[in-house]
C-alpha cells in the first residue's frame, strides 16, 4: 500500500509509471481537504517532487522536535501553545476553513504529505514509532484546541466514532459519582451529557481519575471529548505505524527514498547515547572509592542526595543505584573502584549477598558483562538531567530523581541548607524556579552560588569561554565544572583546554 502510493512522488519516475497513472482512479488526484484537522487515514497519492518530499519532512520534523522539547522542559499546555505558535506559523501553517485563505489547500497538502513521509521514516523500530506517535498526538491536540468550536464539531462528527450516550435514567442513578468524578464543574445534571466507552479507549482520563468507572466502562463527560478524540487519533496512528513497519522492507526497492528516510530517522536518535565518559576525564584527579566522600562536595544536588542517603541507610534502592553508578562511571571511577565503593557502602550486608545481588548489575552498567552490544557500548550512558527529570519519579523509600523537582519545597530547602546553601536570596530563587518548574535554572543557580568566586575569576581572566559557561544540563558536566573550578591551577590549563570543546547534549 505504502510503496504503491509513494512510488509516484518522484518526477523522474513518473514516466515509468505512465501507464499505471493513466488508469489510476480519478478520486485520488482530487483528494480534497475539507477540514483543517486530519486523522491521516488516507495516504497521499498525488505527485510531489523529491525536493518537496525532503523539505516538507524536514519542516515537520522541526516542529515535532520543538514540541518534544516542550514536554521535556515540562512546559504547561498554555506555555507550549504560545511557544509553538510562531514555529507552526513558519514551518507548518494550517489556516482554518473560515479564514478563507487561498493557501488552505497547499497548507493542508503539506501537512498531509509530511505526516506520511515521517511515518515512513519512523516506522522502523518500536521506539521510534512510539515517540512519533506521542509527539504527533501532541501536535494534533495542540491544533484541536486551537480550532474554532464549530469546525471542531464538524470534524468530530465526520469521524463516526461509536460513543454510547448515557441515558437520563442511568445518569440520575449515578449522579453523585458522575458529579464527583467530573471534578465539581457540573452544576445541573440535566445540562451535562456523558458518553460511555470501554475504559481502554480513554486511558489518560482513567490514569488521572477524571472519569467515573463502572464494570469496565468509563463515563466520559461531554467536555472531555478532546481526550477521546486524541486517544482515538493515537490508537489509529499506532495501528497504522505497525502496518507501515511491515510494509517497509518493500520500500527498500526505491533507492531514492531510502537515504532520505534514513537521514530523517537518524536525526531522531538518542542524545544520551552520544555521551561518553571520556568527555569528563579529569587528568590527575583522584577518582577512587575512598575519595568519593571528598569529591561529593562537587556533585550536583541529585547526586549529593543519593550519596547522603547511601551513607545514612547503607543502602540505595534500584533506580538510585543505577543513577548513581552511572554518574560515578561518568566522573571516571573505574569498575574495580566502583565495586569497592558499593561493597563498602552497603556495610550491612554480607559479601555473599553483595556478590549475588548487586555485583552483576554494576558490572553490567559498565559493560563488563552482558552481550556484545552492551560490551561494545561500554554499558549504559550516565543519565542526563532530562532523563532524570522525566523518567521514573521516585516512589516511597527511593532517593533517585531530581531534588529540585521531586522534593517538596520544605525538604528541598532543608537539603540545600544541609549541603551548605544557606543564602536566603538563593533559596528564594530556587523556590521560585521550582514553582515555575524551571529545575535546570534552580540547579544552575545553586552552582553559580557555590562557585561564585571561582566563576568570577575565570570570567575575568578569560580562561573560560562562553561554551564553558552555558547552562548545565548534565550531572556529569556539573561535576566536571565544579571540580575544575575548585581545583583552579591544580589541573593544568592545557589539559583543560583539550576537554572543554566537547559539548554534551541534554
Amino acid at each position: 500500500m505504502i510503496r504503491q502510493d509513494f512510488s509516484r512522488i518522484d518526477a523522474k519516475r513518473k514516466n515509468t509509471d505512465h501507464r499505471k497513472k493513466q488508469f489510476a482512479t480519478p478520486q485520488y488526484a482530487a483528494l480534497s481537504y475539507d477540514t483543517r484537522l486530519n486523522f491521516y487515514t488516507t495516504p497521499p497519492t498525488a505527485d510531489i517532487t523529491l525536493e518537496q518530499f525532503e523539505q516538507w519532512a524536514i519542516d515537520r520534523l522541526r516542529v515535532l522536535a520543538e514540541l518534544e522539547a516542550c514536554s521535556f522542559r515540562n512546559r504547561s499546555q498554555a506555555e507550549t501553545a504560545s511557544y509553538m505558535k510562531p514555529i507552526l506559523d513558519k514551518y507548518l501553517p494550517l489556516g482554518s476553513s473560515s479564514s478563507g485563505s487561498s493557501k488552505l489547500g497547499e497548507e493542508r497538502m503539506k501537512d498531509h504529505y509530511s505526516h506520511f513521509i515521517l511515518r515512513l521514516a519512523f516506522a522502523s523500530t518500536e521506539d521510534l514509532r512510539r515517540r512519533f506517535s506521542r509527539v504527533e498526538s501532541a501536535l494534533f491536540r495542540l491544533r484541536f484546541m486551537d480550532n474554532d468550536a464549530k469546525e471542531r464539531q464538524v470534524f468530530v462528527e465526520g469521524l463516526n466514532l461509536e460513543w454510547e450516550v448515557v441515558g437520563e435514567e442511568e445518569k440520575m442513578r449515578w449522579s453523585e459519582e458522575l458529579r464527583a468524578a467530573a471534578g465539581g464543574f457540573v452544576k445541573r445534571m440535566e445540562e451535562e451529557s456523558w458518553f460511555k466507552v470501554d475504559w481502554e479507549r480513554v486511558p489518560e482520563l482513567v490514569e488521572g481519575r477524571r472519569v467515573f468507572l463502572r464494570a469496565g466502562k468509563a463515563y466520559v463527560p461531554g467536555r472531555e471529548q478532546m481526550s477521546m478524540v486524541v486517544a482515538e487519533f493515537t490508537a489509529r496512528l499506532d495501528k497504522a505505524l505497525e502496518m507501515t513497519s511491515r510494509a517497509l522492507p518493500r520500500l527498500d526497492e526505491d533507492d531514492r527514498l531510502t537515504p532520505i528516510l534514513a537521514h530523517l530517522s537518524n536525526n531522531f536518535t538518542t542524545p544520551d547515547a552520544s555521551y561518553s565518559s571520556s568527555t569528563t576525564a579529569l587528568p590527575g584527579a583522584d577518582i577512587s572509592a575512598r575519595n568519593i566522600d571528598t569529591l561529593s562536595s562537587s556533585f550536583p544536588l541529585c547526586m549529593q542526595n543519593l550519596h547522603r542517603s547511601l551513607r545514612r541507610d547503607a543502602h540505595l534502592k534500584h533506580y538510585g543505584r543505577l543513577q548513581y553508578t552511572l554518574f560515578l562511571k561518568g566522573i571516571g571511577l573505574n569498575l574495580e573502584e566502583c565495586l569497592v565503593f558499593w561493597r563498602s557502602s552497603f556495610s550491612k550486608i554480607t559479601d555473599d549477598t553483595f556478590n549475588k545481588e548487586y555485583r552483576y548489575n554494576v558490572r553490567h552498567a559498565y559493560g563488563d558483562v552482558g552481550g556484545d552490544s552492551n560490551r561494545r557500548g561500554n554499558g549504559y550512558s550516565p543519565f542526563s538531567c532530562q532523563k532524570i527529570l522525566t523518567e521514573h519519579p521516585p516512589g516511597p523509600g527511593e532517593s533517585h530523581g531530581c531534588p529540585y523537582r521531586h522534593f517538596s519545597t520544605e525538604n528541598l530547602t532543608a537539603l540545600l541548607q544541609a549541603v551548605g546553601v544557606k543564602d536566603h536570596e538563593v533559596l528564594r530563587g530556587v523556590k521560585e524556579d521550582k514553582e515555575k518548574m524551571k529545575y535546570h535554572l534552580a540547579c544552575n543557580r545553586v552552582f553559580e552560588y557555590a562557585h561564585k568566586q571561582e566563576l568570577k575569576k575565570v570570567k575575568d581572566d578569560g580562561t573560560w569561554g562562553a561554551a564553558q559557561l552555558e547552562t548545565i544540563v548534565h550531572p556529569n558536566e556539573y561535576f566536571k565544572r565544579s571540580y575544575l573550578l575548585m581545583n583552579l591551577g591544580k589541573v593544568k590549563e592545557a589539559e583543560v583546554e583539550d576537554e572543554v570543546d566537547v559539548k554534551m547534549e541534554d
Binding site: R214, L261, A273, N305, N361
Partner: protein
C-alpha cells in the same frame, strides 16, 4: 545503500537481542557472582523503554543543510530494566539451620519422608519432595493455559528458574505441565517466576530471522505490595520482619485494590497470593487484563496510585476534591482500619518527633500551636487521643482563621497517607514483568506462597502459613481414615494443611476455564452464523 530504516539495522535499537545479551540463558554459575535474581525483573523481550522520552528531536533543525549520519550503538535500550531491581523479598534472607539429614531416598517418593523440624527449605531434598509430591502442577498448567488442552497460552509462556546456586535461567518454556515438572525436578530451582506469553516459543527466539518477531503478547495484570514500603509508618517491625499488626497494611491494600479491580474495571478473576514473607501479589487473569498493552497497564496503575513520592517528598497525598468515587470508597473502607490498626496498634505519633509529622500535615498554624502545647505537656499521649484532640481543639474556637473544610480535607489525606495501599507500581505497568509463581517456597522463610481468599482476607495469618517442612511432616503423619481405605487414592497435598489453598486455587482456575470456554463457543457460533448467511 544505507538501510537505516530497516529493522535489521544494528544502529536501530532492536528488540529481543539486547535482552538475551543482558541475561543470557546460559547458566552463569561458573562465575560465582551469578546473575541477578529479583522479584521484579525488569521488562524484557520487547526491549524499548516503554515510554521514556530519553531521546530528543531538539536538534532536528540542524539537518536542514548538512545531514550527517550518526552511528549509534544500541545501548540505550531498556537499560534500567536490565538493571533488575534487587529490592526483593530475598534481600535479607534469614539463615536457618543447615544441618539437616534426610533419611529417605529421594528416589522413593511414595515412602514416608522423615524430616526433622529443623529442616531447611532450601535443602535440595526437601525441595525435591515438595515439587514431586505437593506442588499443584496440573492446576498451575490449567491456570496459565486457560483450557485442559495444551495451547500456546502455556507453551509460549516464559518461566524463569532461580537455581540453588543462584544462577538465573530465563526463557524456559514447556508444552505441558509434565515437562515443566520434569525440568523443575532435574534443575531443582529454589523458586521460579512466571513471565509473559510470547508471540513465538521463547526457546526459538534465537533462530528467528527478525528479532521483532519475538515479543511478549500477554500476561496477567500484576500487583506487588511489600511491607518495606511502609517502613516510615509502621512502628511494630522493620525490614524483613512482620507481625499480625503490620500485616493489616496488606489486608487493607487487598480490600481497596480488589474492589476497584472488580467494580470499576469489571475484572472477575483476581487471585491474591502471599509472597512468602512480607507482602502479597495479585494476579488479574481475565482475558481482557492479560491482553492489555503497557499503555493501558500504566493508566490503570495510575488510577490506583494515590500515595506519591518518596519519604522525602513532603505531603504524599494530593487528591482533588470532590473525592473521586474510587478514593471516596477507599476512604470508607480504610476509616475503621485507621482507628484500630493505625491509631491503636501502630500508635504512629507517640513521641515528640513523630507527632511533628502529623502537625506538618495539618493546615492551621494556630491550631497546630495549641496542639503542640497540649501534647508537649502530656508526653506519650496515645495517637488515638491525639487524633481526637484535633477536632476537640478546632471546635473550641481557639483559632480564628480555621478553615473547617481545609481541616477535614487534611484529615482525610492523613488517613489515606497512613492506610492507602503503597503499590510497587513498576510491576503493574509492564506487560513483560516476571513474578514469582504461586505455590513456590520462599527460600528465606520456607513458607509456601499460598493464595489468599479475599472473602476472608481479614482472617489470613501470614505467620501460620505452612512451611514446606511442616507439610512434608504432615504427609508422614497421615493415616488414612478407615472409611476411605477402599476409595480412590488420596493425593499427598490432601493430607496436609496445603489442602484448602490448593482447593481454592482449583476452583479459581475452574472459573477462568469456564469463562474462556463460553467465550470461545460464543465466538465460534457467531463465526458459523456469518458463514451461513452467505
Amino acid at each position: 545503500m544505507p538501510h537505516s530504516v530497516s529493522p535489521e539495522d544494528p544502529a536501530s535499537p532492536d528488540q529481543g537481542a539486547i535482552v538475551e545479551e543482558a541475561r543470557t540463558d546460559n547458566v552463569e554459575t561458573q562465575d560465582s557472582e551469578g546473575t541477578a535474581v529479583a522479584d521484579n525483573m525488569g521488562p524484557i523481550g520487547d526491549s524499548q523503554t516503554s515510554e521514556d522520552p530519553d531521546m530528543t528531536m531538539a536538534d532536528a533543525g540542524a539537518i536542514e543543510e548538512k545531514i550527517t549520519v550518526k552511528v549509534e550503538t544500541a545501548t540505550e535500550v531498556k537499560l534500567e530494566d536490565l538493571f533488575a531491581d534487587m529490592d526483593s523479598d530475598e534481600e535479607f534472607p534469614s539463615s536457618t539451620g543447615q544441618d539437616i539429614k534426610i533419611s529417605s531416598s529421594p528416589e522413593a517418593p511414595a515412602s514416608p519422608v522423615h524430616i526433622g523440624h529443623t529442616s531447611n527449605s532450601s535443602d535440595p531434598e526437601v525441595m525435591r519432595s515438595f515439587y514431586q509430591r505437593l506442588f499443584p502442577w496440573r492446576y498451575l498448567f490449567q491456570w496459565l493455559n486457560h483450557s485442559p488442552t495444551p495451547s500456546t497460552d502455556f507453551g509460549h509462556r516464559e518461566f524463569a528458574f532461580t537455581l540453588q546456586n543462584d544462577a538465573y535461567l530465563r526463557y524456559q518454556s514447556f508444552p505441558t505441565h509434565d515437562l515443566l515438572r520434569k525440568d523443575v525436578l532435574r534443575l531443582m530451582p529454589s523458586r521460579f517466576e512466571i513471565g509473559p506469553v510470547y508471540s513465538t516459543n521463547p526457546r526459538d527466539r534465537k533462530t528467528l530471522r527478525k528479532s521483532t518477531a519475538f515479543k511478549p503478547i500477554a500476561k496477567e495484570l500484576c500487583f506487588d505490595i511489600d511491607l518495606t514500603d511502609y517502613d516510615d509508618i509502621r512502628t511494630c517491625c522493620d525490614k524483613a520482619n512482620i507481625c499480625n499488626k503490620c500485616w493489616q497494611f496488606i489486608t487493607m491494600a487487598i480490600k481497596v485494590i480488589d474492589v476497584a479491580l472488580r467494580d470499576d474495571f469489571g475484572f472477575k478473576h483476581i487471585m491474591w497470593v502471599y509472597s512468602g514473607r512480607r507482602g502479597a501479589h495479585a494476579w488479574v487473569c481475565d482475558k481482557k487484563a492479560r491482553q492489555m498493552d503497557d499503555h493501558k497497564r500504566r493508566a490503570l496503575a495510575g488510577y490506583l496510585e494515590v500515595i506519591k513520592g518518596g519519604a522525602q517528598g513532603g505531603k504524599r497525598v494530593n487528591i482533588k476534591r470532590p473525592l473521586h468515587p474510587h478514593v471516596a470508597r477507599s476512604l470508607d473502607i480504610l476509616k475503621s482500619h485507621f482507628q484500630t490498626d493505625i491509631l491503636h496498634d501502630q500508635d504512629p505519633w507517640e513521641t515528640d518527633e513523630k507527632f511533628d509529622r502529623l502537625l506538618q500535615l495539618l493546615p492551621d498554624k494556630s491550631l497546630n500551636e495549641a496542639l503542640r502545647k497540649k501534647w508537649n505537656s502530656a508526653p506519650g499521649r496515645a495517637s488515638t487521643a491525639k487524633w481526637t484532640d484535633i477536632d476537640a481543639l478546632a471546635k473550641s474556637g481557639m483559632s480564628k482563621s480555621l478553615d473547617a473544610k481545609a481541616l477535614l480535607d487534611a484529615k482525610q489525606d492523613i488517613v489515606l497517607e497512613y492506610t492507602y495501599p503503597r503499590l510497587d507500581i513498576e510491576v503493574s505497568k509492564h506487560l513483560n514483568h516476571l513474578l514469582k509463581s504461586p505455590f513456590v517456597v520462599h527460600p528465606g522463610t520456607g513458607r509456601v506462597c499460598v493464595p489468599i481468599n479475599t472473602n476472608h482476607c481479614e482472617d489470613f495469618d501470614p505467620l501460620s502459613v505452612p512451611t514446606v517442612t511442616d507439610l512434608l511432616r504432615e504427609i508422614d503423619e497421615w493415616t488414612t481414615p478407615e472409611e476411605e481405605k477402599d476409595g480412590k487414592a488420596i493425593q499427598d497435598w490432601e493430607k496436609t494443611s496445603l489442602k484448602p489453598y490448593v482447593e481454592y486455587f482449583r476452583s479459581f482456575v475452574l472459573g477462568i476455564m469456564k469463562d474462556e470456554k463460553e467465550v470461545k463457543v460464543k465466538r465460534e457460533r457467531e463465526e458459523n452464523g456469518d458463514v451461513m448467511e452467505f
